[in-house]
C-alpha cells in the first residue's frame, strides 16, 4: 500500500498525462488565438506575454507582497466573520424570536453585493485596514450564518435526548453535542463563506491604494495593461484552487471519514 503511493501506478501516470495534455492543449489554443489576433491583442493577450508579466511581477515582488497582504486580510476577515456568522446562526436557530426578527435581517444583508458596502466602509472606518476587513466581513458573515442556522436546524433531536439521558447539562449539551454535530454543515458553510469572502476582498481592496491582489488588478486595469490583469487572474485562480483542494478538500475528506457519507 505504501509503495503504491510513492511510486505512481500506471493509472496515476495516465491520469497525470491526460491532465497535463489538456492544459498544454488549452495553452496552445490560447497561444494560437493570440497569434492569429482574432481579437485585439491589447485585450486578449498571448500566453507568452501573460507569463512574461507574471514573471516580472513575481520578480519585483509585487505579486508576493500583494498575495501576502490579501491573504492576511482574508484570514482576519474570514476568522471574524466565521465567529460572528456562527454566533448569528446559532442565535437564530436557537431562538424563535431571534429567527423571526434577526433572521430576516440576515437574509436581507446576505443579498447585498460587497460593492454597496464600500462607501459605508470608508465613511465609518476611514482609510484603514479595518475598512477593507469590514467589506470582507459583510460579504461572508451572513452566508456563514445562514449555513450555521441550517446546520443547527437539521440537528436530530435524538442526539440531544441521548445526551440528556446520559446526564448532560445545558452547557455540556452545546459543547459536546450541538457543536460537533454541526461540523459537516459548518464545513459546507465555511467553503461557501470563503468564496464570498475572497470576492468581497477583491472589491474591498479597490477602496484605496494598498498592497494587495485586488489593488494590483485595479492597477492593471487603470493602466489598461491586460497582460498584468491576466497574470493576476491566474494568481487568483491558483489561490482559489489551492485553498479549495488543500483546505476544504481535506476538511471534507475528514468529515466524510468521521461523520460518514450521509452527513457530508
Amino acid at each position: 500500500m505504501r509503495s503504491s503511493r510513492l511510486i505512481p501506478s500506471r493509472e496515476t501516470g495516465l491520469k497525470l498525462l491526460r491532465i497535463v495534455g489538456f492544459y498544454v492543449a488549452v495553452i496552445a489554443l490560447w497561444s494560437l488565438l493570440g497569434r492569429v489576433e482574432v481579437w485585439s491583442p491589447f485585450l486578449f493577450p498571448s500566453p507568452e506575454k501573460v507569463f512574461a508579466s507574471l514573471r516580472t511581477n513575481f520578480a519585483n515582488g509585487l505579486i508576493l507582497d500583494g498575495l501576502q497582504a490579501s491573504m492576511q486580510r482574508l484570514v482576519v476577515g474570514y476568522v471574524i466573520s466565521f465567529v460572528l456568522g456562527m454566533a448569528l446562526g446559532l442565535l437564530t436557530a436557537a431562538s424563535k424570536f431571534a429567527n423571526e426578527t434577526i433572521g430576516g435581517v440576515v437574509l436581507g444583508l446576505q443579498s447585498l453585493p460587497s460593492i454597496t458596502w464600500l462607501p459605508l466602509a470608508v465613511l465609518w472606518f476611514g482609510l484603514s485596514e479595518t475598512a477593507i476587513i469590514f467589506v470582507v466581513l459583510m460579504g461572508s458573515t451572513f452566508s456563514i450564518a445562514i449555513s450555521a442556522r441550517a446546520g443547527m436546524r437539521g440537528l436530530p433531536p435524538l442526539l440531544t435526548r441521548a445526551a440528556g439521558t446520559l446526564g448532560a447539562t445545558r452547557w455540556q449539551l452545546y459543547r459536546y453535542v450541538v457543536l460537533p454535530a454541526m461540523v459537516p454543515s459548518m464545513v459546507q458553510g465555511m467553503k461557501q463563506g470563503w468564496s464570498f469572502a475572497w470576492r468581497s476582498l477583491m472589491a474591498g481592496e479597490l477602496l484605496f491604494v494598498s498592497v494587495g491582489l485586488g489593488h494590483l488588478l485595479d492597477v492593471g486595469r487603470n493602466l489598461n495593461n491586460i497582460n498584468m490583469v491576466f497574470a493576476i487572474m491566474l494568481v487568483i485562480i491558483a489561490v482559489g484552487v489551492a485553498v479549495d483542494r488543500l483546505l476544504f478538500g481535506r476538511a471534507e475528506a475528514w468529515v466524510r471519514e468521521r461523520w460518514g457519507f450521509a452527513a457530508a
Binding site: R161, A163, G164, T165, L166, G167, T169, R258, W259
Partner: protein, 279 residues
C-alpha cells in the same frame, strides 16, 4: 388461552410477583393528552405500572397504544402529564443518568468512535480517565465489541450499533434501563443474536429493564412479565407472567405457545387498520 403456571425461575435474587416490596419505578394513574390545533389525542389513560428492582418488564401493543409515551415519561424526556411518576421514592422531574435509554434508532454520536461513545456519560460526570477506561473496557467486552472500540459509527452494522448503545447505557451504571424497541430496525438473525446477548447481560449484571417492543415473540423470550397495552385511549389491558427458564430460544415450543397466548390478548385490542404497517 392457557397461562402456564410458575415453573421455577433462574436468578433467585429477583423479587417474585407475589411479595411486593417498595417498587423501583412507580407510574401511578398516568394520563397524557397530545393537544394540537386539530385534535386532542388521549395517548395514555389512567395507566398504573409498578416495576420491582431487577425485574425485566416487556411492554407490547399495537402501534399508537402509547408505549413510547409511557417510556418517555419514565425516562423524564416527557414531563408534561397528569398522574405521578416516582423513581426511587422521588418524583421524576427530567432526564437523568440513573435512567439510561436505548433508543430504536442508533442514537450514537457519529463524530465519536465506539469507545468515546461509551465513555460519553462517564466523561460528563467527570469520572477520572483511568477508571473510565476500565469501565468502558468491561462494557465493550460485555457486548462483544472490544475489537471494534476504535471504529466509527458508520462503519458498524445495525446490530453492532445497538450493542454499542447498550454498552453506553450500561456504562453509567443506571438503576433502570429503558429500551424503546431497540431491535426493531434489525434483521431477524441479528435480532435473535441480540436477544440472546441481552438476556445474558441482564442475568450477569442484574439491572432493572423496561423493554418496549411490538414483537410478541421477543417479549416472551425476554420478559419476566409482559404488559399488553390497548390503544385509543392507551391503557394496560393485561399483564402476563412468563415463568419460563432462561435462556430461552425462539424455536422453543414453550415460547411459541406463550407467544400465541399473548397474541390472543392482542387480537382483541380493537381494530387498527393502518398503524399495522407503521414501523
Amino acid at each position: 388461552m392457557a397461562l402456564i403456571a410458575d415453573t421455577g425461575r433462574q436468578g433467585g435474587g429477583r423479587a417474585s410477583a407475589a411479595s411486593d416490596p417498595e417498587p423501583l419505578l412507580a407510574l401511578r394513574h398516568i394520563s397524557k393528552h397530545f393537544r394540537t390545533s386539530r385534535q386532542d389525542t388521549l395517548a395514555l389513560d389512567d395507566v398504573t405500572l409498578k416495576v420491582r428492582p431487577r425485574e425485566f418488564i416487556c411492554i407490547v401493543g399495537p402501534s399508537g397504544c402509547g408505549k413510547s409515551t409511557l417510556l418517555n415519561i419514565a425516562a423524564g424526556i416527557d414531563t408534561d402529564y397528569q398522574g405521578e411518576a416516582v423513581f426511587e421514592g422521588a418524583p421524576i422531574r427530567g432526564m437523568a443518568q440513573q435512567r439510561a435509554v436505548v433508543f430504536q434508532e442508533p442514537a450514537l454520536f457519529p463524530w465519536l468512535n465506539v469507545r468515546d461513545n461509551v465513555e460519553f456519560g462517564l466523561k460528563l460526570r467527570g469520572v477520572p480517565k483511568e477508571q473510565r477506561r476500565e469501565i468502558v473496557d468491561r462494557q465493550l467486552a460485555l457486548v462483544n465489541l472490544s475489537r471494534f472500540d476504535r471504529a466509527y459509527i458508520h462503519e458498524l452494522s445495525g446490530g453492532m450499533k445497538q450493542r454499542a448503545q447498550l454498552a453506553r447505557g450500561l456504562a453509567v451504571e443506571p438503576h433502570v434501563l429503558l429500551m424503546d424497541e431497540p431491535f426493531a430496525a434489525l434483521d431477524a438473525q441479528t435480532r435473535d443474536d441480540l436477544q440472546l446477548e441481552l438476556q445474558s447481560v441482564w442475568a450477569r449484571i442484574g439491572t432493572t429493564v423496561l423493554f418496549v417492543t411490538h414483537n410478541v415473540r421477543e417479549a416472551v423470550i425476554l420478559g419476566d412479565r409482559v404488559v399488553v397495552m390497548s390503544p385509543s385511549p392507551g391503557r394496560i389491558k393485561k399483564i402476563i407472567d412468563i415463568p419460563l427458564e432462561r435462556p430461552r430460544t425462539p424455536d422453543d415450543h414453550a415460547v411459541a405457545d406463550l407467544a400465541a397466548a399473548v397474541r390472543y390478548e392482542l387480537q382483541n385490542v380493537g381494530a387498527e387498520p393502518e398503524p399495522r404497517y407503521a414501523i
